[in-house]
Assembly symmetry: C2
Homo-oligomer: 414 residues x 2
């Protein structure tokens, strides 16, 4: 039996000592929940990964500054949906700082220990009157059962909230790792548009926690793509507060913890890909035989991001030629005569040559996957690509490209 | 008055000494024209630019080899549509060679002087019986009036054939530059899926011609994007045969000739972008203020290729935030506070801040462009981006992302 177990209905507040709330502050015209506050009962070790976009939103800049000032310590995070607070200039920065200040004041915490994140429409200022009132209300409502509300409050065009939690038995006790995320359009490697939050109650040294979070994010959030666009606001913030009183410091425990955080991030990242705007099925691209893991990951991402591959999957059309073409333009050198491609169990290309396969069965494989139960593992179209004899491997996730993607994105602000 | 004039109904056979034919060889199931032969009445100086995809089709490999063997001399080009002859292995290479051999035999020419290009479905072998019969028929039909038929025979999902020709007055006489292209889906920089052919009757030294063609292709075919996918078959081949007996060797003449070839390639490239699968309007992204032209070109291509920008334009939705986000993720460093964005005449962002603009008028600007006459210059949505005080500038072209793109690509092989 695996040391890692899924916690039923688990999420961002499953780990000991974490409370959250998700409320309607009135920032979204729709009246849906739009403000989440997440808080630890004590200071937590914090690590973050942020968008690499040159045009980067004030909350991102503010978070980076706070994590530096606090040397990786935080207690709470305020997240709003509705406005991304991006391209909002000095006023946007002031609003991000004030958001943190307000929460800090209510929580009786130093401002540098309160982080902020925003998602939504770019270029609109947040209504700070509503924000301030909302923070006050959310802080009142915070509870260890508030994870579900929080996960709902950070959604934008997401159809489904994204949450998960695991418990893992370390040598000196059990710790919990949970999280929530939001995604939909504009999802791409290098922290493309998504927000991810992870909590844990393990006691981990700060530098070690940063390394764990970085590795987990590289194998998860950095390997998903919905449409190739990266956002101004992407971030993953992970807090571990030690409330379990279980110290993770042996190599074995740290490996197990890393595996758990990675599993948690992969679930949250895959859920984002599965819920890509207009998506009807999850795409999983497994690449092996590369010279390095980096090369394999790059090929996997390129195939997962190809509009032609994505359209073909939407059409349940086993068009392996597009998979080969996408692999070939990834910027990774390989010998075409060593290229093997499988769609699910159906081999379509061997040593660079097309092989006979049952077109109808291959198409049916994709139809069946699209009918698989949501996030069950049975709802993925799996494409396996081998590009040579190297030991490098990597996986990326994406989704198909449907009419609805275009519809949603043609009508977003208007 | 400009020294460069458009030739009405001009194309690939406008330049002196060029003949062509475009026939139905039966390679396309539809029965549409699918085989073109282009021939000069004498040996011509030849230059080519080819796909950078690792998975590269036999006709590309064969052409590269021939241009090397002939030291940049060619007389004819055989182009088929229907099958791309890509991922077809040794048999595919043999078929590409045999195609050239057959045409060479009929034309009484050395095989190394006959080039080949293919476009269509990947992974299917060409029916060589039909190909051989077709070459024979096409060679019979070749004429100086055959340019239009040839341009039609190279189309795949293109809705409109793409041709243009210009005459330009050099110091010692007038020369003609003409061409044809095909595109539709999978169009991206670095010789993404497209075929382009250019002919000229100027007398130009071989190395100089290569430089001219390279410069022209960088400012045209390498700056268009439809969906980010690059193909296994992309190529631009340009022949100049000296039949005008006008020698271009002074710097002034060479500059004029370069300008004309660039203008020709830009027309052919823009026509490809305008005719991108499902496109309803041409996108033109002009970037200035960059540290270098390369940086500006990269930002322009990234904005032109953003699915979110493309969807917004399809929705006639002036969503400048997506333009800013795409510019920011291009991999070019700039100061966000120096970012200016215009949509047509409407300024949307100044110094990194959103500015007030008339949303309805901006939306109407895009509606009007979509109604503009095809390739008139009035049918483009022009986005102007300035990223700083540098002197680097560049332009890229693309198209919007519509329901029809998805429809066409979801149902291509089945």
């Amino acid at each position: 039996m695996s040391a890692i177990e899924t916690i039923e209905k688990g999420g961002i507040t499953s780990a000991t000592g974490f409370s959250a709330a998700g409320i309607t502050a009135g920032l979204k015209p729709s009246g849906a929940k739009d403000l989440a506050v997440l808080c630890s009962d004590r200071l937590a070790t914090a690590a973050g990964t942020f968008t690499k976009n040159v045009v980067c939103a004030p909350p991102v800049t503010v978070c980076k500054g706070k994590l530096e000032a606090s040397e990786g310590i935080a207690r709470a995070i305020v997240v709003n949906s509705g406005q991304a607070n991006a391209a909002t200039g000095v006023e946007g920065t002031q609003n991000a700082l004030r958001t943190a200040d307000e929460a800090a004041r209510i929580l009786g915490e130093e401002a540098k220990h309160v982080l902020v994140a925003s998602t939504g429409v770019i270029g609109r200022q947040i209504n700070m009157e509503k924000m301030v009132a909302g923070i006050s209300e959310a802080c009142k409502q915070m509870s260890p059962d508030g994870g579900d509300d929080a996960a709902k409050a950070i959604m934008t065009t997401d159809l489904i909230d994204k949450q998960i939690a695991y418990k893992v038995k370390l040598s000196s006790g059990t710790v919990i790792v949970g999280g929530m995320s939001k995604g939909s359009g504009m999802i791409h490697p290098n922290m493309a548009t998504m927000l991810g939050f992870v909590t844990s109650d393990a006691a981990v040294e700060s530098g070690t926690w940063s390394k764990i979070v970085k590795e987990a994010s590289q194998k998860s959030f950095n390997q998903i793509t919905v449409d190739g666009d990266t956002s101004t606001n992407d971030c993953l913030i992970a807090l571990t507060n030690g409330a379990s009183e279980v110290v993770a410091d042996t190599q074995e425990d740290l490996n197990l913890l890393t595996e758990t955080v990675t599993k948690c991030c992969q679930h949250l990242a895959k859920a984002i890909a599965r819920d890509g705007e207009g998506a009807t099925v999850l795409l999983e691209i497994k690449v092996s035989g590369a010279a390095s893991d980096e090369d394999a990951c790059l090929v996997a991402r390129t195939v997962a991001g190809s509009s032609l591959v994505k359209s073909a999957v939407f059409g349940r059309d086993p068009n392996w030629g597009r998979i080969a073409a996408a692999a070939g333009r990834a910027g990774v050198d390989f010998d075409e005569s060593e290229l093997d491609i499988f769609l699910g169990p159906h081999q379509m290309m061997q040593s660079g040559q097309p092989v006979e396969y049952d077109t109808e069965a291959a198409s049916k494989y994709m139809v069946d996957a699209s009918k698989g139960e949501y996030m069950s593992g049975e709802d993925s179209v799996i494409i396996t690509v081998s590009i040579g004899g190297g030991s490098g491997s990597g996986t990326a996730w994406g989704c198909d490209l449907s009419y609805d993607y275009v519809k949603i994105n043609a009508e977003y602000t208007t």
